[in-house]
Amino acid sequence: MSSGWRWRDLPSGVKFCGRKFSRKKSGTAMVRVKARYLLCELNVSDRTQLLLLDDRAVLAAVKTAVARIHGDYGAALCSMRFSIKYLNAHTGIVFLRFLRRAYKLLWSALPFITSIDARGHKIPCFLNCLHVGGTIRTCQKFLVRYNTQQLHRMLPKCRNEEEKQEVRKAILNCSLTKGNNEEFHIESESEEDEEAQS
């Protein structure tokens, strides 16, 4: 069989793949896996029902909606690196992490969520996307700003001086530092999305 083989035909270190490969020292490099974080607000008619929600219920609701709207292909994309990063059951704020190449497709399924099943209850609700960011930190910054805005909006509606004081205090609180906003504290390492590959 090897009649055509000659010494000089052989590449150094046998590679018969017909292509030049980038030969780098692999092993130490850290490559960030790109993701998109969607900051969503859960809108319900009865705010007490929010407390029933947990990560798993929201996760399942998103997955079902994606599977219904985008079929097997969507479900496959949705199973890749998708997670609920943070859920605040008091305010109804949800952080979703999607694979960056697929986030638009998956995002398009979110409006079709009409209810979430949690602990045996069916909670009618809808998801309102507030912000899309590349890192958790940008979303966090946005959320602080957004909450401040909301508080400002609440100020004129206050009925008595006591309430006003409280709201003012809250506004002051969140404009101080971004970290110690009490209704928002994720594990401070927002680098956790920078997962080391290899």
Partner: protein
């Protein structure tokens, strides 16, 4: 571009079905196919590595490839399912009867060793379950450098909806890591109706995150380099090749049949 190749037709003891598979593959335009024998060692008892059946015993008259005037080429391939590092026995005499050698690693550690160490041609990517580990750049690059390729099989995706999700998700995460190079797409078909035409598979590659040109290579040029790689495995660095001079009656598959692997390509 070279000829279209499907390196995975599942072996069945049913000769008629196997013949139908080969005939369908030829009809669809595949010029070379490989019959895949799966060897799944278990801890309980020692098992025999299957011996490849000579092609002439399976099919007496090789069908003509569609639109061409040459017959189809049929090769043998062994896939070892590895759940423990002892399952792959390098230098086992039984492996020598096969033209191609593949492993299916089930854990990250085995995947790493398959990429970096084992003397194999193909690493099979799981398509029937959720990926038990992430593909890391280092082992994947190592495999690419060594000329070992990754295989994604599509027929599970035809059979079942859940498998389809796993196939797409696992293939996509593989393509993210290896950027569409050093990947082959093959069928793993058990029935003739699970085979798809080469252009259909190329389009399916788009679903797996491959570009048209890359997908076309996954069916042709990359397979060709696998066949060449398989040949170097049998030789000492592709230089020295030993063969028993007195031909016994045992019908060892003749290596001259290796299609694209007839000649080594010259160094670039």
């Amino acid at each position: 571009m070279s000829v279209f190749v499907d390196l995975n037709l599942s072996y069945t003891a049913d000769n008629n079905r196997l013949r139908a598979l080969i005939e369908t593959a030829a009809h669809l335009g595949f010029s070379t196919v490989a019959i895949n024998y799966v060897f799944e060692p278990t801890t309980k008892k020692k098992q025999e590595i299957p011996a490849p059946k000579p092609i002439s015993a399976l099919i007496d008259h090789l069908p003509i490839v569609q639109g061409r005037s040459r017959p189809i080429t049929v090769l043998n391939r062994l896939t070892v399912v590895m759940s423990d590092s002892s399952h792959f026995r390098p230098n086992a005499a039984e492996y020598r009867g096969f033209d191609l050698l593949a492993v299916y690693p089930t854990t990250e550690k085995l995947f790493h060793s398959a990429c970096m160490l084992l003397d194999i041609d193909i690493i099979v990517i799981s398509v029937t379950e959720k990926l038990p580990f992430f593909f890391k750049r280092a082992p994947v690059n190592g495999a690419v450098d060594r000329g070992v390729v990754f295989e994604v099989c599509y027929s599970a995706a035809i059979r079942d909806s859940t498998m389809r999700r796993y196939t797409i998700a696992n293939a996509l995460s593989l393509m993210e890591t290896c950027k569409g190079k050093s990947v082959i797409l093959s069928s793993a078909a058990e029935k003739a109706l699970e085979l798809r035409g080469p252009y259909d598979v190329i389009n399916l590659g788009r679903l797996f995150g491959l570009s048209d040109a890359d997908a076309k290579e996954a069916l042709s040029s990359t397979c060709r380099s696998v066949l060449l790689h398989a040949e170097t495995r049998k030789t000492a660095s592709g230089i020295v090749y030993t063969r028993r001079s007195c031909q016994e009656d045992s019908p060892q598959p003749d290596l001259c049949d290796a299609p694209a692997a007839k000649r080594p390509h010259l160094a670039e």
